[in-house]
């Protein structure tokens, strides 16, 4: 909420011309979300410092986000940190300086001068290192002062807030542009809706430096609020290429740890192969999520009836959108349905199918609910074939980014070793009259096996 700009250029008070703000005056500005004040804490020939205090009105903030009810709307850090609000304030209050315009001293505006910017609190959950790696390639000397959450409870650890100061011999317009773009990137949030227009803004603000920035992709991704298609388009424009085809990104949480895409594909292929081999034509995808397996099943005419089931209704909506259900031709449309269901309740709608796939699902169940799950699937629904995949915990030591003892996804309630999975699968097969085979999925490792393990159960019916 406080941004100071200092120079030791002689005479330093020329900063007043560059900012279009008189060093001996205090000025206030109205902004859509509150107000800003600009005043100088020092203004001598040797050093001049302009301070902008941004005052965000939390009531106005709440009104802007009318709709849902979340406590976080009322008690949040937005009024106290530099965020996209700060970028908007820079554009409004220091608009000419940002564009490099200065009627009184046009040459000075185009001249690199010693400048320092200091941000009282910048929110960056990725730590000081990211702040450095964004500003240092642009020629800044970076000082980061990190803060702990609460000195009464040191065990709570570091806060995500940093007091940041950057220094360089540069043009004021460039400095402000870098702040304008990089503050929301570090904060990794934007208070407004991001659309295609945001790409144009990024293109013009990023001209001359973004394309060669080593963290270019991260900057683009975060500036465009992680909207994949916007990012793709922006990157292709930066590379001067045609926009890429739309593609889906895999489930965000899991992707951070696993090199998901490849393994994801392999896993789906393995499951589909197993389902095909079973001769099934009516299949269930239990825990279908956003519908990646369903998409694969739809492409194979062998599967005449496909039911996607998930307990998370939002996932079903995403699946319907991803599969473009409302645009499928009627005969295709008839092959597939999506229903909300739970794997710990008996569900007559799931009875009578040839096969069921549970791809990366059981590890999301509480271990205490597994007995109910087993009866629901193997006793009541009783499909001819059941294909279950789950992470192989033995393999976790091979994930470089996964700390020891941690699961691959924060919602995982357990991850089984090969021995544990095999033992569970054998017990279930025995109890419910199924045969079971266990197969590795993904690149095998002589020591720890493949990253994913798959069990294929077939009902023994007499």
């Amino acid at each position: 909420m406080l941004l100071t700009l200092s120079t030791t250029h002689r005479p330093a008070t020329d900063l007043g011309y560059l900012l279009h703000k008189h060093p001996e005056r205090t000025q206030s500005f109205d902004l859509p979300f509150g107000g800003a004040q600009v005043f100088y804490t020092e203004a001598t020939a040797e050093k001049c410092t302009a301070a902008m205090v941004l005052d965000i009105d939390p009531i106005a903030l709440k009104r802007r986000r009318a709709g849902g009810f979340e406590l976080a709307q009322y008690v949040n850090d937005r009024p106290y940190v530099a965020s996209s609000f700060m970028s908007v304030a820079i554009a409004r209050v220091y608009g000419s300086a940002l564009k490099g315009q200065c009627d009184e001293k046009p040459d000075l505006a185009m001249t690199p001068i010693p400048l320092q910017a200091r941000i009282s609190a910048l929110c960056c959950r990725d730590g000081a290192q990211l702040i450095r790696s964004l500003f240092e390639p642009l020629g800044y000397t970076v000082t980061v002062d990190s803060h702990i959450l609460d000195d009464t409870f040191p065990e709570w650890g570091e806060s995500p807030y940093h007091t940041v100061s950057i220094e360089a011999q540069t043009r004021l317009g460039d400095l402000l542009t870098h702040l304008y773009v990089l503050i929301p990137v570090l904060d990794d949030d934007k208070h407004y809706y991001v659309s295609d227009e945001e790409i144009d803004k990024l293109m013009s603000r990023g001209e001359g430096w973004l394309n060669v920035h080593p963290e270019r992709d991260l900057i683009v991704e975060r500036y465009l609020k992680h909207q994949h298609h916007l990012k793709q388009e922006a990157l292709s424009r930066l590379r001067d290429e045609q926009p890429a085809e739309k593609e889906d990104r895999p489930d965000a949480g899991e992707a951070t740890v696993e090199e998901e895409l490849k393994l994801y594909q392999q896993r789906l292929e393995a499951v589909i192969t197993a389902l095909e081999a079973s001769g099934a034509s009516r299949v269930l995808d239990l825990g279908c999520g956003p519908g990646r397996l369903l998409e694969g099943l739809l492409q194979r005419p062998q599967f005449v009836e496909i039911v996607g089931v998930d307990v998370v209704h939002r996932a079903l909506e995403r699946a319907a959108a991803n599969l473009q259900l409302d645009r499928l031709p009627p005969r295709q449309r008839q092959r597939i349905q999506l229903i909300q269901g739970s794997l710990t309740y008996r569900d007559t709608r799931l009875s009578g199918y040839d096969a069921a796939a549970l791809v990366e699902v059981i590890e999301h169940l509480e271990p205490s609910r597994l007995p109910a799950f087993e009866r629901v699937i193997f006793e009541f629904a009783r499909p001819g074939t059941v294909v279950i995949t789950t992470p192989n915990a033995d393999y976790n030591i091979r994930w470089p980014s996964l700390p020891a003892g941690r699961f691959r996804h924060e919602d995982h309630r357990f991850e089984w070793t090969r021995a544990e999975f095999a033992s569970w699968a054998q017990t279930v097969a025995q109890a419910f009259s199924y045969h079971v085979r266990i197969l590795p999925v993904g690149p095998g490792d002589p020591e720890v096996g493949a990253p994913t393990q798959m069990a294929v159960f077939s009902a023994v019916d007499g």
Partner: protein
């Protein structure tokens, strides 16, 4: 000329009446005269509904599709339905007969065979009918052709009116269905399969308080016996058993439904070719020794028995082999078959006996169903049904169920008189789960999906909207503990209305005013603990938990959050914690005092940071940290500027004040946090002893609750924290002022605030309306955590004062009612799905969008 006479027709109260007659025969007039307008479905009307033209021939198919649909819904709802259409051709009548069969009601033909002449004349008088006389002629011909076929087509009764006069003099009476005995409300003694065990029957009747003298039986005043059939076959004294029962039925002191054995005996007595197996031979031999006249009476008696009975306003159904709800109270061969044998799956077991579909497992009806037929080692309720055939003739016992007491009374068989083909499972010596518990091991999603309406004892018809259920299903499936442990979820609580004082949002005055207005003379103010809501279900030991809850494993209890999640992530900590609670209950002597093996406590578990660690770190402490850094920098900058005489004093003052408010905000949340290194760093503050065996303690005062819980707190003061409280006489100013001062002192020293409750757990106002079970009154500093550090500034307060607690209050009442209902159902031993429905309902209501700061 025909003689003047009255034509009387008697119709079963639920039936499908098919009018048959040519155009102009007077069907519509006749229907209007004798039936409710809503009972009559006229083809003309449906033609108009689907095409705006009641004479449109093109609309015929659509019109009949709609008519059949409506007729089906009516019959499903047990409503008499009249189809007003010509119906002179067999193909038009066929779907109607099928419809009646599908819904197990009688199809009845009411034929208006009026002279063609009359029909023609009437048609000519109608301006909207312009079809020629030849059409009428055709219809009359088809009608006459149809008459002889109606019986074969499946009509159970056929009434033909042959003249205008007959139609004019027609009277229609409605008769009760034989199975409809709804106005008989008991009390009853329902007796299982006797199979000729007359000695045991006499003993049982005596045990039930009936006077048995020879063949004469006199019931205790007001009581009536109901026999579930299978009086005959296999046993030693079949004629004697028959005499006893037939005598009681004749006297009106008993009812009897037929069993499959009775019916087989009747067929044999009627001379039909029946295999003399399964004990029939004994019946016939024993009857041979009786006067021939007796066999005739027996045959007539069995022939007169109605397949099943619906009694007590529909709350009770009796049938020999059971009755599923969609058949109860209806009449058809299928209904009779089901009552006698149940429903076959088509398979046979290893003894060659047909395998019966387990209808009771899927039974969801409102009525209790009492049945017999298949001998079981002991009678056990399942989904509000119970089989009381305890195999007397095979050496088991003869069992009666007293209704409405639901008490089982048995006498053991003197000996085994026959060998069962399929051995009766031996009663298990080790106490396993009950039939209901075994069934409830996995609940059915069908009992939760869609819009649901839950009747509770406190509030009728609480609606659980489908979209709320969708949200709840996700939460309950992904995060909640096993439903067998999850017997209750606490309700939300509304704060007081906004305080009249300009500088406060909440103050006790509004709480006192609310209860004062509603006529509660006294309230209790309880200290509001600031931790996390926790429900603790604790059992005397793992075995007690297994027996009462049907859970596996040997956990003696659970501690879960307000959304049904396990409170602790750490198994070891959880079991130590529960063990301490269990020990405390034991040493306080509460197991004995409450005569229970389990109890459910509604509590607050502290510190707040134990459960809300993440929320604190990511939100509360984070906001404090960010604000502290920023405001410190701003104040420093303004101080420098002011020193240069360039800043503004007023800004500096304002930012200094903001910095001060942030410090108070940080102090506010810090007060509720402390590190948990050991078990004893946790503090559990129970404030409601919700339920224990046999009782939901909502019939007690809060003083009772706090006194009982004080014993617990005294038993282990290291873990338990008592709840401070004050009684307030609303009519006395001193009393109110005293409590207000108490609140002020407490909140100023960092307490969250207090909860004001009527003295009785459930309280109603002057108009009988349910009062808020509690309202909270939170302190000024505490509310900084809720409304933000800056909320005490006048402009914020002004904004916040517009809050409205109506929606929150309504939600609180519905959740309160559902929570208590869940426990009531559990305490009464209802199926788990009925408990779960209420708990699920609370969770679903919690997804309603209500301002979370309230």
């Amino acid at each position: 000329m025909a003689k003047t006479r009255t034509t009387k027709i008697v119709l079963p109260e639920v039936s499908l009446v098919v009018l048959i007659g040519a155009s102009g025969s007077g069907k519509s007039t006749c229907a209007k005269t004798h039936f409710l307008p809503t009972e009559v479905l006229s083809s003309d009307f449906f033609r108009a509904l689907v095409s705006d033209d009641e004479n449109s021939l093109e609309a015929t198919d659509d019109a009949f599709a709609a008519l059949h649909f409506v007729a089906a819904r009516r019959l499903a709802n047990m409503k008499l339905t009249v189809v007003d259409a010509t119906n002179v051709q067999a193909f038009a009548r066929k779907p109607l007969v099928q419809l009646a069969r599908q819904h197990h009601v009688f199809p009845i033909a009411l034929v208006l065979d009026i002279p063609e002449q009359v029909c023609r004349q009437r048609n000519r008088q109608r301006s909207d009918r312009n079809f020629g006389d030849h059409v009428i002629g055709q219809q009359c011909k088809q009608l006459r052709h149809s008459l002889k076929n109606l019986k074969r087509e499946g009509f159970r009764r056929i009434h033909v009116l042959r003249s205008e006069e007959e139609v004019g003099q027609l009277t229609i009476e409605r008769e009760r269905l034989w199975s409809n005995c709804r106005d008989e409300c008991g009390p009853f003694d329902i007796i299982g399969d006797v199979h000729g065990c007359a000695d045991e029957l006499r003993l049982l009747l005596s045990k039930l308080g009936y006077e048995v003298a020879g063949d004469r039986v006199t019931p205790p005043a007001g009581r009536k016996a109901i026999f579930l059939g299978d009086l005959v076959d296999r046993g030693p004294k079949i004629p004697e058993a028959l005499r006893l029962v037939m005598g009681m039925v004749a006297d009106g002191t008993a009812r009897c439904v037929p069993g499959n054995h009775d019916v087989r005996l009747m067929k044999a007595l009627q001379g039909k070719n029946v295999q003399r197996t399964h004990g029939l031979l004994e019946s016939l031999e024993q009857l041979d020794a009786q006067p021939a006249e007796f066999s005739v009476r027996v045959s007539a008696f069995i022939d007169g028995l109605v397949s099943h009975c619906v009694l007590d306003g529909g709350e009770l159904v009796v049938a020999h082999a059971g009755m599923k709800s969609e058949l109860a109270g209806r009449t058809s061969a299928t209904v009779r078959e089901f009552a006698l044998y149940g429903e076959a799956t088509g398979e046979t077991d290893e003894f060659g006996l047909p395998v019966r579909w387990d209808w009771a497992a899927e039974y969801r009806g409102q009525a209790a169903v009492i049945y017999g037929h298949t001998p079981v080692p002991h009678a056990a309720w399942l989904n509000n049904t119970v089989n009381i055939d305890t195999g007397c003739v095979f050496g088991g016992s003869l069992t009666a169920l007293r209704y409405p007491e639901r008490e089982l009374v048995s006498v053991a068989a003197a000996r085994a008189y026959a060998e069962p083909v399929r051995p009766i499972a031996e009663p298990d010596e080790t106490p396993g789960p009950s039939a209901q518990q075994a069934h409830d091991d996995v609940l059915d999603i069908g009992d939760l999906l869609g819009k649901r309406i839950v009747d509770t004892r406190l509030l009728p018809a609480i609606t659980i909207r489908e979209d709320r259920g969708i949200a709840a299903l996700e939460v309950i499936s992904r995060f909640a503990i096993d439903p067998r442990w999850l017997l209750y979820l606490p309700p939300t609580m509304s704060p007081t209305r906004t305080s009249a004082r300009p500088d406060l949002l909440e103050h006790p005055a509004e709480a006192f005013a609310y209860y004062g207005r509603s006529g509660a003379g006294q309230v209790i103010c309880q200290e509001k603990h600031m931790g996390s809501r926790a429900t603790v279900l604790i059992c005397r030991d793992g075995e007690a938990a297994a027996r009462r809850l049907g859970v596996a494993g040997d956990d003696p209890g659970v501690c879960y959050t307000r959304t049904g999640r396990r409170f602790f992530d750490d198994d070891e900590l959880e079991s130590q914690f529960l063990e301490r609670i269990r020990m405390a209950v034991s040493s306080a002597g509460l197991w004995e005092e409450l005569e229970t093996t389990w109890m459910l406590l509604d509590c607050e578990l502290m510190p707040w940071s134990a459960r809300a660690q993440q929320l604190l770190k990511e939100q509360y402490a984070a906001v404090g940290a960010a604000a502290r850094i920023s405001l410190g920098e701003v104040v420093a900058a303004l101080e420098t500027a002011t020193a240069r005489d360039k800043g503004s004093d007023s800004w500096l003052d304002e930012y200094r004040a903001r910095r001060e408010r942030i410090e108070r905000y940080i102090d506010a949340y810090r007060a509720y946090c402390w590190p948990v290194a050991a078990l004893t760093d946790l503090k559990l503050a129970p404030f409601h002893l919700m339920a224990s065996e046999g009782t939901v303690h909502c019939d007690k005062t809060h003083l009772w609750h706090l006194e009982m819980l004080a014993k617990l707190c005294a038993a282990d003061p290291e873990i338990f924290q008592p709840t401070g409280y004050r009684l307030v006489d609303l009519d006395e100013e001193d009393s109110r002022t005293g409590a207000t001062t108490w609140w002020e002192e407490r909140t100023e020293s960092g307490s969250e605030g207090m909860v004001v409750k009527p003295l009785t757990f459930v309280a109603r106002g002057g108009r009988g309306e349910l009062l808020q079970p509690a309202v909270k009154c939170r302190g000024r500093e505490y509310l900084r955590i809720i409304y933000g550090p800056e909320y005490t500034t006048p402009e914020h307060l002004q904004q916040l004062r517009r809050r409205n607690v109506k929606a929150k209050q309504s939600l609180a009442l519905r959740e309160f009612s559902l929570g208590l209902e869940a426990l009531e159902r559990f305490v009464r031993g209802e199926p788990l799905r009925r408990v779960h429905e209420c708990v699920f309902g609370v969770l679903a209501l919690e997804s309603e969008p209500v301002d979370p700061r309230l």
